[in-house]
Point group: C2
Chain length 255, copies 2
């Protein structure tokens, strides 16, 4: 049955979508069966792979409101990668009253029907700790946190970990912190290496050895609707995501 | 009475906070009386100026729930700049039922009491088109949209403009698009100049001539709790925000 991984960080623009697309694509290229679920009303995993954003009759909105998952899955160019896209209607499902726990299990229940069809399910989340992200935390086995080596991005880690702990106590005891992935890494700057060291100290053993360098090809690939490996395989960005994926798979084997 | 400017873009990590802090600080340095309102539960305008994030008894949460604004304003190092900070409690005020218009006027009503005390009020908003951002749109005279020259950031502009139009029809007919500020600009890359040209074509006359270059000092300044002008006045980042502020003031004079 599939291992479900949520890519999350409430800080905006840290590389959640870029990581979701390229981690899912790299797993698929390494011949695992993968489903990418876009849970962000911005729908950037959707457009980043060249899909139209759905209305409320399809995609993630339909998934969370009871349409069987199997009817919502779309094929991509990669035989072993499928996607459930997202559109702006998804924002209508954000509830402010987060104490109403019943709303937090919609995704978990929906994915239970199709978990058998995949090795891995990767979930892209919006820049907030609201209903979509909490649904993803409740459904997932593991959380991966993309983080640029910047001060403001580090500020939110405490709250993200508090949310992880709260979900473990409430709705999903088996959710684990898979690790922190340093993105847009420019460790050669003082700020970059200072932040990287701070994060490695605060989360010993939890920062992936592979970091993703800043690489313009990663920012270009979504405009072509392709994962980086299909846009420019030789680029530093593509190679970094493949290394990261292999490091992640090795860690899973050793656990 | 103060002109109220909201800095918004639902795309994450585009420079909303960096622009809010440094535009407000530059206006204050040019001897205008300025209030910066942090309306993002992440509280990054708050920490970026060296303040603690408040609980629900102070700051923006208290402002939106009825405490008089004058009691919530804090002084900064700059005599002509004051701030109303934000903390995570603010997220409790995000309502999913956005058709309930009564919730959209809380900020406008709260700021009406203190507008006379300032020349400009600058509002930082979260990466979403939810209740906080709609409150800011309802209270504001003008919207400034920070935008990096990246494909995914361009994708959200249509929805942002749709929201602007909806607010103009519903809760604030006088809200104008002040302009688009190109941030983290690396126009020497093909992607950068392609996106910049596309945006200038789609929004004729609305893209500010000054763009903010990518400059590591801008990412360092918040870790020192200071606006860039007080951290490194000679840096490209500080100079760009002062040029931008002067361009904006000239535009206001000529309108
Ligand atoms: N390693 C990288 N090098 C260069 N550009 C990158 C890199 N990673 C991401 N980007 C670009 O930076 C921007 C932000 O990345 P992305 O959209 O993936 O972040 P996000 O966390 O998903 O944002 P949001 O919070 O809006 O969902 C995008 O334009 C993306 O193309
Ligand atoms: N011109 C620039 N040059 C270099 N770094 C920048 C620049 N502008 C912003 N940054 C850095 O990029 C990151 C994103 O900027 P910022 O936090 O201001 O964006 P935001 O839109 O407010 O993000 P969010 O969507 O999370 O509120 C921050 O770490 C900031 O320090
Ligand atoms: Mg994203
Ligand atoms: Mg911000």
């Amino acid at each position: 049955t599939a291992r479900i991984v949520v890519i999350a960080n409430q800080k905006g623009g840290v590389g959640k979508t870029t990581t979701s697309i390229n981690f899912a694509a790299s797993l698929a290229i390494l011949e695992h069966m993968v489903l990418l679920v876009d849970l962000d009303p911005q729908g950037h995993s959707t457009t980043g792979l060249g899909f139209e954003k759905p209305n409320d009759q399809a995609g993630a909105y339909a998934l969370l409101t009871g349409t069987p998952a199997e009817a919502l899955v779309l094929n991509t160019e990669i035989a072993t990668l499928q996607i459930i896209p997202a559109g702006k209607d998804l924002a209508r499902l954000e509830f402010s009253d987060l104490t109403d726990e019943s709303q937090l299990y919609n995704l978990k229940n929906a994915l239970n029907q199709i978990k058998e069809n995949y090795d891995y399910i990767v979930i892209d989340s919006p820049p907030a700790l609201g209903t979509m992200t909490l649904n993803a935390f409740t459904a997932a086995d593991e959380l991966i946190v993309p983080m640029p080596c910047e001060f403001l991005a580090m500020d939110g880690l405490v709250e993200l970990v508090d949310t992880l702990n709260a979900v473990q106590k409430q709705s999903n005891p088996s959710l684990q912190l898979g690790g922190i992935l340093l993105t847009m890494a420019e460790e050669r700057t003082n700020l970059g290496s200072a932040v990287a060291n701070e994060v490695r100290k605060s989360f010993p053993g939890k920062v992936f050895k592979t970091s993703i360098p800043r690489n313009i090809r990663l920012a270009e690939a979504p405009s072509h609707g392709k994962p980086i490996a299909f846009y420019d395989l030789k680029s530093k960005g593509a190679q970094a995501y493949i290394y990261f994926t292999k490091e992640w798979l090795r860690r899973k084997k050793n656990e």
